[in-house]
Symmetry: C2
Subunit: 501 residues, 2 copies
């Protein structure tokens, strides 16, 4: 018993005595799961019985009901922003403490924008999570959901050798919102994970940037052969959706404007190839697609119709046997559900996403909702699966926050207390249109509600201006809006930054 008693004694310095040599070794980090703060403990204070997990136990009657949010993407963050913190305590679990403004990520790879300009800390989006005593942000991954016990299992993230071992804990919820997003699809093609870089997170953009600048510099070293130089400076993008097209456009802008000026030795060697199995920008109107094709070709992007069969360290093999040597390979062929989503014992939508009903609830369980790319309507709703777009996620987050605020006001915030509450209108998605930039201050704006509808579609400089303005007003905080505007202005005046940091 003395072992546990010891834990409550602080061997750390007091204000008077700065450092007190410990009388015994500190066992706290040897037996972490035994150490429970009474505030977090499910057992009564003073109890020393060992438990498996540290826990944030079920909410008590005098506490606010607790909403647990998994994920900090568009859906999760928009939801937290809208949720009323006077009604609920908010606990967010994510391996990332910020939201990424994904549509601008491509611009950060070539230095048009700074990484930090496209990221917004969760604590700024919903300040409650780091201020209120019952609200938290945990830098952790969710490893399991127990719908019956209203509990999620989590594990802290670890990186490098200097950090803690993963720390396991559970969180009880009154309402659970699963907004874990999706992961890139590779169609089972060998070598994609090993050699290609995705473009979903800030660290992907950082990796692309470092590799691009490394290749630019390596290609200038004495004795590098012409072939090797061409290979190093061949940037291949697989996937002709908006991300692939925007990245190709940014890259060709960077080459046309900055590389030609500042890497004069290699300017004739650098090339961008965009490989797509079908049409590029297939969701856009024919005229816009044609415009995009012309524009990209004009800025030197080679468009190739092809299917990738195999990815090797220095080349990819297409279905027809063509070998394409590359120095940088960016993969953006769409997204699909992650293995964790697959593993969950919850209803699924066609395509394997978490199944939801018209109010974004997961049917057959209590108090679980799902929004964003990880969710899709169950078949019985008769509704189609919505595209994996930021605007869908954002609209769902906004809707669900309003719904839960209403439920909370009607005293339905606690676990298992929502049954008799009128949920009001169903979630209806109205597509506001699509935008994509193609480089050279040109963009496409397609304001039609769907592929077959009539409506406004624009292409060119005006669209580019609309695109920039739209992004500026949608970047979440004033701080980020300010930074993005400043970044765009300095890139315009001084060119892109090429420090490899």
């Amino acid at each position: 018993m003395s072992l546990f008693r010891n834990l409550s004694k602080s061997y750390f310095f007091t204000t008077k005595q700065l450092f007190k040599p410990p009388n015994s070794t500190n066992p706290s980090h040897l037996f972490p799961s035994l150490t429970l703060l009474s505030r977090f403990s499910t057992s009564t204070p003073g109890s020393t019985a060992p438990v498996r997990y540290a826990a944030l136990g079920p909410t008590k009657p005098h506490e606010k009901p607790r909403v647990v949010v998994l994920g900090t993407g568009w859906a999760g963050c928009r939801f937290m922003k809208g949720l009323d913190s006077n009604i609920y305590d908010i606990v967010c679990v994510s391996p990332r403490n910020h939201m990424v403004f994904t549509p601008l990520l491509a611009s950060t790879c070539v230095g048009t924008l700074e990484f930090r300009s496209v990221a917004e800390p969760v604590a700024r989006i919903q300040p409650t999570i780091s201020k209120e005593p019952g609200s938290f942000f945990f830098l952790a991954n969710c490893t399991g959901i127990n719908a019956d016990k209203h509990e999620v299992q989590c594990e802290t993230v670890t990186e490098g050798t200097q950090t803690l071992d993963p720390w396991k804990f559970t969180i009880s919820y009154d309402k659970l919102v699963i907004a874990l997003g999706a992961q890139p699809t590779t169609f089972g093609i060998h070598g994609v994970y090993e050699h290609a870089i995705f473009l979903r997170e800030v660290y992907h953009a950082q990796e692309i940037r470092r590799k691009l600048l490394l290749n630019l510099m390596m290609s200038d070293v004495p004795g590098i052969s012409e072939e090797e130089k061409k290979r190093l400076l061949h940037c291949v993008v697989v996937g002709g959706g908006p991300t692939g097209v925007e990245f190709s456009g940014e890259l060709s802008d960077f080459i046309m404007r900055d590389v030609r000026q500042r890497y004069a030795h290699v300017k004739d060697y650098i090339h961008v190839t965009l490989i797509e199995a079908n049409e590029i920008l297939s969701s856009f109107d024919d005229r816009l697609r044609h415009y995009a094709t012309n524009q990209l070709t004009k800025s030197g992007v080679r468009l190739v119709r092809g299917i990738v069969k195999d990815v090797q360290e220095k080349k990819i093999i297409l279905n027809d046997g063509t070998e394409v040597p590359y120095g940088l390979l960016v993969w953006s062929t769409g997204v699909g559900p992650s293995p964790f989503i697959h593993s969950l014992d919850l209803p699924k939508s066609p395509g394997g996403r978490i199944g939801i009903d018209e109010w974004l609830r997961v049917p057959s369980v209590q108090d679980i909702f799902s929004i964003g790319d990880c969710s899709g309507f169950v078949e019985s709703t008769g509704k189609p699966t919505l595209p994996a777009l930021a605007q869908v996620a954002e609209r769902q987050g906004k809707y669900l926050a309003a719904l839960l605020n209403k439920v909370g006001e009607a005293n339905g915030g606690r676990a298992n207390s929502m049954k008799d509450i009128d949920l009001g209108n169903q979630f209806v998605y109205k597509h506001l249109g699509s935008m994509a930039t193609v480089g050279s201050y040109k963009a496409l704006v397609d304001l039609r509600q769907n592929k077959d509808a009539k409506g406004l579609s624009l292409a060119g400089f005006l669209s580019w201006f609309v695109w920039r303005s739209a992004y500026l007003t949608r970047v979440i905080s004033w701080r980020n809006r300010f930074y993005v505007a400043i970044n765009w202005a300095t890139t315009f005046v001084f060119g892109r930054d090429i420090s490899r940091i």
Copy 2:
């Protein structure tokens, strides 16, 4: 012989035929050192005799003389900026393609400044290196110097598994400028390299930032004991020179202003301790030192007089046996010559730096100069070793550029052709004063020329203003000045950024 002939054939795509399947495997990356471009080759074009290294051979009579600069710190960059590219071709070798504005590095760790605001690409400082056909920047380390052959050996940097194997090459020089800087001293204390973080490069600041934010978030996880929480949030700085003091000041500003607001759960646990064996800021005037001590103490930094004996994963041991648990350990106890400098077969100054004479030449060899922290006057000059300060390096770079411009104009630019040229005035260092910020918008400015001289010394807000202005006008480009000013303004308005990217 057919193997070598093959190398000149391009199997890569032409404009008409996008991808041509190779008829044979590409041997260029298997035998890199055999592949020589005639432009770089020391052998005659068409020769296929294998050589050990690819090379940038001696300059020909119709070419400009070549100055090779090793290093991209204050000294090397100031030198390149001043060197006349009409007279010389400039070749720079460094593992870093940018200069770091080191005095502002501490501010980047806590988000006051962005990383990119304190870095300036070499190609912006001296655009010649990426534009002129005979000037280059090589992302590489120098591995050897052959003073007799007027040649340096280099090896490209590698990182991760996806990059090339190190690529070896040699560069012939007409003049060589060694500006390789120094490395942090650890006094042989065990565990420093493993567990402490230095503060010399942008990636150090990034590591400190990531660890600080990780610890802030880990300390909030359910079940973490009070002791572990205190440990995680204990930031220890070893070394009370300007870097250590400025970092402690920035950290306490971050805690006072940002952590208290945005990490309310942990605000009473986070502490900064500064450990110094002697006085802090020993080069400053007594009054300023006293002021700094008071100011730091007032902002919550604990100053401890002590000598570190051992560094372990989670605690350091002082000489008197005291154990100090820490979550973040920053080491800034000064700098000394690197093993590479030690290994060079060149004259040395007392203390092991590369020995130089009054004109910054390395005596006893031809055409080699050394500037910055890696160099010191040889004993015979009767001059003391100058402190390892940015202003010394910067002044030496400026002086040497003027000297070599003069030599070049007098037709002494080629190897072994400088003997009869009058070098003019010797290098004389005049100390312009020292500055250090101590947080809370307070700084010290000591304008005395040395420790015993009389002169102006200031402390407080006015000094802080002088400090910021001085830094703003010394950051090298307008782009960086602009970014630093914008960063300071946004930090003032919006607070520091806490995204962990």
